[in-house]
């Protein structure tokens, strides 16, 4: 089932593995996942929409080849934080990020950083499946094409490989030229995942990818996430706490902080740790209230 990665990707990964620093993760649980390399390092970021401060002072590190889940009530800013990781917030008029967030050590919001280059490395899957009104094939080939791949044979290989990775190949291999809009919701979402994987990103950000799907399609996508995490780093926003416990290695719990005096609200990171610890032994009473269903 697992397709062989491209040779250059393998070489790149080996080089990365060789250059890996010591595992610096807080080992608060018994298990250890992934390689231990830090992918994202947010050191106290605040995100604003105009004068509204959506998120305040978020500190967290996200590690390679792990699945990190963001959970929390609506309006707590988890999607905002997620979208700041590949600079999708740049598209929102008035949005700005304060503070330091690094991707593999490079400041994401540095002066010379191009959001285009960032997004080629850090892909995103959205809440609602959003296939282009093109054929299934053209949807997958879209990313490779904008990266300059024109060779038909090469594109065929990428399309097949990505669809196999996204567990969609068997369902669509006979109708690659058919419109992607004819797919069901679950298929369309897997198509969107395949489209993201086709550009071979380093990180895949997922914004509630299963919220519009039924349990069977959800489970297909969760299996797919576990399958591909050996090759990618995944960050997922979810409203479904069972989903976080099923798929994620680490969980960040966000909540809303109300300021009664100025009547404002902002999102804060309450607790971040290994998923098992967050759900079984939360240190913060707010986390405990949320994961046990007493709030939110």
């Amino acid at each position: 089932m697992e397709p062989t990665p491209e040779p250059n990707v393998v070489a790149e990964r080996q080089a990365r593995a060789a250059a890996r620093p010591q595992d610096t993760r807080p080992q608060d649980g018994a298990e250890s996942y992934g390689s231990g390399t830090t992918i994202f390092d947010a050191n106290g970021i605040s995100i604003y929409y105009g004068s509204f401060r959506a998120v305040t002072d978020v500190k967290l590190s996200i590690y390679e080849n792990e699945i990190t889940a963001f959970i929390g009530p609506s309006g707590c800013g988890k999607t905002t934080v997620l979208r700041s990781l590949n600079r999708m917030n740049d598209l929102v008029v008035g949005a700005r990020v304060e503070g330091d967030v690094r991707y593999r050590g490079t400041p994401l919001y540095g002066k010379d950083v191009s959001p285009i280059a960032v997004r080629r490395k850090i892909g995103m899957v959205f809440q609602k499946p959003n296939p282009f009104p093109k054929s299934i094939y053209d949807n997958i080939a879209y990313g490779p094409r904008i990266n300059g791949i024109r060779n038909k044979k090469r594109l065929d290989e990428i399309v097949e490989k990505s669809l196999i990775q996204a567990a969609l190949w068997d369902e669509v291999k006979h109708r690659l030229k058919a419109s992607a809009l004819g797919l069901s919701g679950g298929q369309a979402q897997r198509l969107c995942i395949a489209r993201t994987l086709a550009v071979e990103p380093d990180v895949v950000l997922m914004d509630e990818p299963c919220s519009a799907l039924d349990p069977i399609a959800t489970s297909a996508i969760e299996d797919l996430m576990k399958e591909i995490k050996s090759q990618y780093t995944i960050v997922i926003v979810t409203h479904n706490m069972q989903q976080a416990t099923r798929v994620s290695d680490r969980t960040a719990f966000f909540s809303v902080l109300r300021n009664e005096e100025s009547d404002t609200r902002t999102g804060v990171l309450v607790e971040y740790g290994q998923t098992q610890q967050i759900f079984e032994d939360p240190h913060d009473p707010r986390t405990q209230a949320y994961v046990t269903g007493r709030m939110g």
Binding site: V93, F126, N130, F132, P133, G143
Partner: protein, 296 residues
């Protein structure tokens, strides 16, 4: 579950009120309004077809325009047909690309900045300029310096079409859902690529049909042409030199003549013009339907 006969009857009938009566009154009013609109349309079509159909022939569509005194069986409207096609065609070449590019700027690049609000405002003002004023404007800046020629007429028509093309294209672009743009950005597209590969293909059906409607509209304009191309009776295939003629201008000139031959030619020209506009409309419908089927 057994039914319980003791249950009190529930009254599910419509409560006594004006609602039904109002509904009936409104339905009748709407049907009347539709008939009211149909009356002039059917009347115009009937008159033009009954008076113009008899004169239409291959000769009528190609032969030169004879002096007004000659009977309807001699000569035709060839120069006007050619003039209308070349002047409207040239105006389309000027207005449609410019208008579509303008709409792309307004919707994709300018968003709500000062320049785009400025352009949008003046496009709206331009829509309100009477066509005869537009003719006078071109007359003063073009015709006075370069004489009567087809290009002047095309300029005048293009000025009339431009705001319509801008506004209709912009509307179509704004209907393209943002998630599609985001999907493309998330794969590392630049703004120009998002526009070219996602936004334009999605909106193209609507843009084309909007443009064709503007063309059909311009083809029927008389006033701006009287100032800029004059009217001649022989075919002028050179749009850059010499006076020209067009169907609306010939309808005006011939219909106001006292000779029955000229009046018959005016009816024939009117029918030809309606048929040209009708063909454009059908093509517009066809394109919209076709692209919407594939697109959505």
């Amino acid at each position: 579950m057994a039914t319980t006969p003791q249950q009190p009857a529930v009254d599910l009938r419509e409560p006594a009120s004006w609602r039904r009566t109002k509904n009936q009154i409104m339905t009748v009013l709407m049907v009347l309004a539709m008939l009211l609109i149909l009356v002039p349309l059917v009347f115009v079509l009937y008159t033009v077809i009954s008076k113009g159909a008899g004169i239409i022939s291959g000769q009528f569509l190609t032969a030169s325009i004879p002096p007004n005194v000659l009977p309807a069986s001699i000569g035709g409207m060839g120069p006007a047909v050619v003039g209308t096609l070349e002047i409207t065609g040239l105006a389309t070449l000027m207005a449609v690309p410019l208008g579509v590019l303008g709409a792309i700027y307004l919707n994709e690049y300018g968003k709500n900045n000062l320049l785009s609000r400025f352009i949008g405002f003046f496009a709206d003002v331009m829509t309100g300029v009477p066509s005869i004023v537009m003719g006078l404007f071109i007359f003063s800046i073009w015709t006075l310096h370069f004489g009567f020629n087809g290009v002047g007429g095309a300029f005048a028509l293009a000025c009339l079409m431009l705001p319509v093309v801008i506004r209709s294209s912009q509307q179509m672009l704004s209907l393209v859902p943002d998630p599609l743009r985001e999907a493309s950005y998330a794969l590392g597209s630049t703004r120009s690529r998002v526009t070219l590969t996602v936004v334009l293909p999605t909106a193209i059906g609507g843009i084309v049909s909007g443009a064709l409607l503007a063309v059909a509209r311009a083809a029927g304009e008389t006033a701006p042409l009287l100032f800029t191309i004059l009217t001649v009776t022989t075919t002028n295939t050179d749009v850059f030199n010499g006076a020209n003629t067009a169907l609306p201008a010939q309808i005006f000139a011939n219909a106001s003549s006292p000779y029955t031959g000229a009046q018959a030619r005016a009816w024939g020209a009117a029918l030809t013009l309606i048929v040209i506009a009708f063909i454009l409309l059908v093509v517009a419908r066809f394109i919209t339907a076709r692209f919407t089927k594939v697109g959505r």
